[in-house]
């Protein structure tokens, strides 16, 4: 019974998280990935444009 109750609660907690995920921390592209984008060229001008400024901390 304890296990069943715990499992049910865990599922609902996991479900709430899955339904409302926060934004993941940004991890910006490295040059290898930029090379992939270049290979996929033919469009994607915006994707290959210089990165937007990152917010300053502090």
């Amino acid at each position: 019974m304890y296990t069943t109750d715990t499992t049910a609660t865990d599922i609902e907690l996991d479900l709430d998280t899955a339904l409302n995920p926060g934004e993941i921390d940004g991890v910006y592209r490295d040059s290898r990935e930029c090379a992939y984008l270049a290979l996929l060229a033919g469009g994607g001008a915006l994707l290959l444009s210089p990165p937007t400024p990152r917010p300053k901390k502090g």
Partner: protein, 256 residues
Amino acid sequence: MDQTHASSPLAGAVHDLATEVVLALRSGDHLATVCGAAGIDEENRTGIAAARVIGADLLLPSVLYGRHPHPGDVAVLDRAVREFPPKPDAPAATAWSHWHMISTLQRFAPPPQGATGPGTAVGTGTTVGTGTTVGTGTTGTYAEPDAAWLENAPWQSFTHQLSVLAPLAVPAAPSAVQRAAADRAVDLARGFVRAVRRRDWLQAAGAGRWLAAIGGEPATLGLERGLDFVELMGGHDPRVTLHVRAARLMAEARAR
């Protein structure tokens, strides 16, 4: 699926279910049940919870190919609707995904004459707005949750929320969320680029799916190539592949 590396039983079941939806999208074959292939039936609570996460995309192959869904998949989606209704304080996105599940079920099994389907906007604020369900399952009155909060959301959070609501990005499924997306296509395009830059492949795939569904993105975006890139980098997550595949199917349909 080998769930050894899944972060939780639910995550593993979501992975399995999304994988089967992708397979059905690729094959266009709906004779087999998506849920059955993933080992999920109405008695499997974790599986039902996974169906709640996947939401109306459980029937996406039928929606995009215009075929009848497998009764087993309909039954699981219906069970997920009843088993996991939005709580009173649930975020608006949860209310919307629940509303869309009901809407999709009614698309394939319209409610009896006299019953009112989804479509009436009520409520205000950024939470709740879940409407009222009368009766059980997919019949009865269920009002559209509020979507006014989307109009003024910053483009970053707008894209994030729209990506969470990517299952609503399907043809012939009008909603206030879809209208908000159409009104802010350029913001979505900006959000798509931002998500790619941040390597948030799931968000990028969801935003790309919306852009494919509504059109109107800047030509300089390179959406098709961008989706190729998102799938290349994030395709290990079947939910990413699901959105990208859905986007391609809708883009192909629009081009015809």
